[in-house]
């Protein structure tokens, strides 16, 4: 017959008697739990950031780059040999079954003027398909159409950063801005996307029809030239097929023999980003594992103190056993003491961990996310630590011979 509430009271009294020792023992658990929560928060924050960047880039993305030139044996970097054309982009869209949409790109830096404001930004000549490829909606206005591309009309879509710099609080829709001194009508404004994976401001951009860029803004080395093509596959599973189909199609279109090097390359952006995401997750795991070690060290601290406590209170255990405490009465008393230490430590650790990760994100500027799961996990883990490391001392206490224990000085 075990009386739990009374046993709890006995345990609490024992802990109160040695306040300093109890507090120091708890400190191990506090630091352990706090570290686990803070480290997981840092890790989760990092992977969430990577995830957000992936989705801001658009999903299931491939990128087709032109090849490298070789001049007298010296090979130049990728993209130095302009080989891609708008017709290539259209062919990819029409002839590759695994491709959902393409966005050709001919871009450059240009000075943009509105009224007495001016701003230098990246101007991207593209097609309406680009908005689909990048999963990018408009926050106001309307996109330009295939017709605009065909006619090379002077219309544009503005990124949020451009709007802020040129218009301030004004509504840009229908206004005329000058790109390289050419007047363009603003059709709409792109939604905010934020930073890209490499920290670029994705909102600092202007979209114009690709033909307008070719003919009126940047010019081309040969008719129909574009710099890259962004491709959206129909699904993540079809990324590899799309890559293969594009390769085959472009080799055919560029008349490249089976043994010749291609004059273009296809890269899988999503795969690269997923790798980054994976490494962020591994980092989370690693941080958590390292922090868990300190939690276990805290548990060993509890065991240490409980063993001392059992030795110190040998006589008390003898008295209790003599007047009728059963094996589990004694075991429970010491187990509850250990559990109380670890659970109170765990609670304090949660507070420290949550506020610690807040401070960390403020001081270091890291995004931290404290997930309820990590709190639950580390708290129950601290409970398990208490039981695990408390059991041996409790077991030892319960086996003491009452005659010897009563004689213990």
């Amino acid at each position: 017959m075990i009386n739990i509430p009374s046993t709890i009271r006995i345990a609490f009294r024992a802990l109160r008697v040695n306040k300093m020792r109890s507090a120091l023992t708890m400190l191990g658990i506090i630091i352990g739990v706090g570290a686990v929560i803070a480290m997981l928060a840092v890790g989760t924050g990092a992977s969430k950031q990577v995830e957000a960047q992936i989705s801001s880039m658009g999903s299931n993305l491939l990128i087709v780059l032109p090849g490298a030139t070789t001049a007298g044996g010296v090979r130049m970097g990728a993209g130095t040999q302009p080989t891609l054309t708008l017709a290539d982009a259209e062919a990819i869209r029409n002839e590759c079954p695994a491709v959902a949409e393409v966005g050709p790109v001919l871009n450059g830096i240009a000075q943009v003027v509105y009224g007495h404001q001016n701003w230098s930004t990246g101007v991207v000549g593209t097609t309406p398909g680009m908005l689909v490829v990048r999963d990018w909606d408009l926050s106001s206005g309307r996109p330009f159409t295939e017709q605009d591309v065909k006619n090379a009309t002077k219309v544009c879509l503005l990124g949020q950063t451009v709007v802020e710099n040129l218009f301030g609080d004004d509504d840009p829709a229908g206004k005329i801005i000058r790109i390289k001194n050419i007047p363009f009508t603003v059709l709409g404004v792109l939604e905010r996307k934020g930073q890209s994976a490499i920290g670029q401001d994705q909102d600092d951009t202007i979209y114009i029809p690709v033909t307008t860029a070719q003919k009126k803004v940047f010019g081309t080395a040969f008719p129909g030239m574009i710099r890259i093509v962004m491709v959206k596959a129909r699904s993540a599973g079809e990324l590899a097929y799309a890559e293969k189909q594009i390769n085959e199609l472009l080799r055919q279109r560029h008349r490249i023999g089976p043994k010749q090097d291609a004059d273009f390359s296809v890269r899988n952006l999503t795969q690269m980003m997923q790798a980054a995401e994976q490494s962020a997750k591994v980092m989370t795991l690693l941080l958590g594992a390292i922090a868990s070690v300190s939690l276990i060290v805290g548990g060993i601290g509890i065991m240490n103190i409980m063993l001392v406590s059992v030795t110190e209170r040998t006589r008390e255990i003898g008295i209790r056993t003599a007047i009728g405490a059963k094996t589990w009465d004694i075991r429970l008393q010491f187990l509850i003491e250990a559990l109380t230490l670890s659970l109170i430590g765990g609670l304090a650790g949660i507070i420290i961990g949550v506020s610690g990760s807040k401070v960390l994100s403020m001081l270091a500027g890291w995004p931290t996310i404290v997930s309820p799961l990590s709190i639950l996990m580390s708290f129950s883990f601290s409970g398990i630590v208490g039981i695990f490391f408390g059991f041996y001392p409790a077991y030892k206490a319960s086996l003491l011979n009452p005659i010897d224990a009563l004689r213990y000085e």
């Binding site: 009374s6 056993t321 009728g324 405490a325 009452p402």
Partner: protein, 230 residues
Amino acid sequence: MALIETRGISRVYRLGDIALKALCEVSLKIEKGEFVSIMGPSGSGKSTFMNILGCLDKPTTGQYLLEGIDVGNLKRDELAGIRNKKIGFVFQGFNLLPRTSALENIELPLLYNGIPVKERMEKAAWALKNVGLEGRGGHHPNQLSGGQQQRVAIARALVNNAPIILADEPTGNLDTKTSAEIMELFVKLNTESNITIILVTHEADIAAYSRRVIRFLDGCIISDEARVKT
């Protein structure tokens, strides 16, 4: 049926190769309501005998029947239950829990007997009153005199209505006057509540309070005589 009956119990301690016989073939009966003193020099086996009577130890051979039950066959926790309900211990060194109030000390046997809080409080208060320490329930052992501490220990032995009190030199740490008070308390409990009291002592004048004196020497009983109260 005798309250306590031992049939040829002996206790052998093994220290490496040497076997030390602390008790040899002791047989005796103690009836309910007796007041027995056990006397003998150090090493005579009287403490070993008391440990066995108190179910803290088991005989190596022989049988110990407590209220007709053979204690030798019981497990550790069953023995704990018997100590809790049948036997009250009073020690020379009081053996109260430090930093714990008198009332809470007295409550302990009830706690391990699974008695609910309210009943515990009532019984503990009753036991405290019975030993003449009314109003001292909140004091901690270090705030009480030796005699008072021993009274608290006696109250703890009483609280579960155990039929037997085993007292191991209960006056060994007390002065003569306090010793007499404690012995008077034992006599009162014996005559008024019919509690069987078995006490170990060195001193003849303490043994004089009892009605039967058993003497031990080298692990054997050398005399067992009833005393006529003078």
